[in-house]
């Protein structure tokens, strides 16, 4: 049966989403982790609201980064262990398309979910409501970029037994510019200033990784799959 690239893309997306929603606990774990990590900071630092408001962009972004990395490990793991990934690679569709579909579906259930939960965390960290739209936009761009970077790391570490720590070691240095501009955008939104510059930079990083990272992740998978 011949399937065009567009049909293959939608089939893959539906398959990935269907699989994730059948295991809601795995879907929720990163979100709960996100909430717990952000709860730790007021406990460890100080519950004072003015201090919290100053720290909140950094806390929010570090927690979001760690929470999305946590789930990145499983991006290719399940499919590679049961052989589905090899079958997909042999299906005649381009592996790049498959990687892009899987990563985007993964972002929909992890990154986008994180963005939806972020107002809750924002309220707990005393971020003013006016700053929520920019905070959520920056997080959306940031988590999508991180998903592409994470796909490279996940592709490189997929065959390894203890890959998850190595994955963080590989991806976190690459994600540091993201953290800088993301936290900066949120910080400016809280202060009532224009966050346009940082947002443009985040958008540029997002476009850059969206166009090149699928190629790198595909090359990585080709190396580790063989």
């Amino acid at each position: 049966m011949n399937v065009g690239p567009a049909a293959a893309l939608s089939l893959l997306l539906r398959r990935e989403l269907c699989l994730s929603f059948r295991r809601p606990d795995q879907l929720l774990q990163p979100l709960v982790f996100f909430l717990i990590v952000t709860t730790l900071f007021p406990l460890a630092l100080s519950p004072e609201l003015t201090l919290l408001r100053e720290m909140s962009p950094g806390v929010l972004w570090v927690a979001a980064l760690l929470a999305s990395l946590l789930s990145m490990d499983g991006l290719f793991k399940g499919d590679s262990e049961d052989g589905t990934l090899e079958q997909l690679a042999l299906s005649g569709q381009s592996l790049g398309l498959i990687v892009a579909a899987k990563t985007f579906a993964h972002w929909l259930v992890s990154g986008a979910a994180l963005v939806l939960v972020s107002p809750l965390v924002g309220t707990a960290l005393a971020i003013p409501v006016d700053a929520f739209p920019i905070m959520m936009l920056s997080l959306a761009l940031g988590t999508l970029t991180l998903s592409w970077l994470g796909a490279i790391g996940a592709g490189l570490t997929v065959g390894l037994r203890r890959g998850s720590v190595l994955l963080s070691l590989i991806v976190l240095p690459l994600a540091m510019p993201l953290l800088i501009f993301g936290a900066n955008a949120t910080d400016r939104a809280i202060g009532g200033e224009s966050a346009a510059g940082a947002l443009y930079f985040l958008a540029a990083l997002c476009v850059f990784t969206s166009s090149l990272a699928p190629l790198a992740a595909t090359a990585a998978l080709r190396i580790t799959l063989e």
Binding site: I152, L156, T157, G159, L160, R162, G163, L166, L169, I170, L172, P173, L174, M176, P177, A216, A219, A220, I223, T224, E226
Partner: protein, 244 residues
């Protein structure tokens, strides 16, 4: 010229050439570094603002330029390995990584020793410092990724891909002092046009730059020999080379 280039892909040839080059490179490097250290630390004039503390540049500047150059070399070797499937290129990439990481560490250490009297702090979260630190983490990532694979060939290629991806950091380090408002001073030596440093101060620095470069080349030759021997330990030429 091309035949010479092709022969570089042959492990026994590289093993012999590296052995021939290493003593020369290290010998000249030793002489240049000895001259640079003595002239730079004892005879070059004091800086009118920084006093004697500026003398750390004689170690810091060569180390930092090598830390970036080594990464670029590693990425280029990795790309050559991935594209043309040359085993020696992977050996070069594997041999460069620890040397580059050491130079990066040396850069950070000498920089923070200089920062204490000058900026009043060992460490500042400054773009140049941070991107150099990220470079160190990238070296660690590449080295641990290679080590994590049981199949060395696969580890080589995975590490090669990561090294290439990490190249995005190299222009960020170089331009960080231009793009961001940075504590770290801009380029004074490797700049087109008139250098902004006096010749009596510059001469030992040039000697140190060249000396460090040759030292890097010499150590690379030694490490490359080790890598090639280890990778080719099943080959018959290794048995003969070890016997003789």
């Amino acid at each position: 010229m091309w035949t010479w280039f092709y022969r570089l892909a042959s492990p026994p040839y590289v093993y012999r050439v590296a052995a021939a080059f290493a003593p020369w490179l290290l010998g000249i490097a030793g002489a240049l570094i000895a001259y640079g250290l003595v002239d730079g630390l004892a005879f070059a004039p004091r800086d009118y603002q920084q006093g004697d503390a500026f003398r750390i540049i004689y170690v810091h500047v060569p180390a930092s330029s090598l830390s970036v150059m080594a990464y670029t070399l590693m990425a280029v070797a990795a790309a050559i390995g991935l594209i043309w499937r040359i085993k020696v290129a992977y050996a070069v990439a594997a041999a460069v990584a620890p040397i580059g990481a050491s130079f990066t560490l040396l850069t950070l250490v000498t920089g923070s020793l200089w920062g204490k009297p000058m900026w009043g702090t060992y460490w500042a979260w400054d773009p140049r410092l941070t991107s150099e630190l990220i470079l160190l983490f990238l070296y660690f990532g590449v080295m641990s990724l290679r080590a994590a694979f049981e199949d060395p060939n696969r580890g080589d290629r995975a590490a090669a891909l990561l090294a290439i991806v990490g190249v995005v950091n190299v222009p960020i380090i170089h331009f960080s002092v231009v793009w961001w408002n940075s504590l770290h001073q801009g380029a004074t030596i490797l700049k087109l046009g008139k250098p902004q440093i006096d010749a009596t101060m510059a001469l030992p620095l040039y000697a140190m730059l060249l000396g460090f470069l040759l030292f890097f080349g010499g150590v690379l030759c030694l490490r490359l020999r080790g890598e090639v021997l280890n990778r080719e330990r099943q080959a018959s030429w290794v048995r003969e080379a070890v016997k003789s």
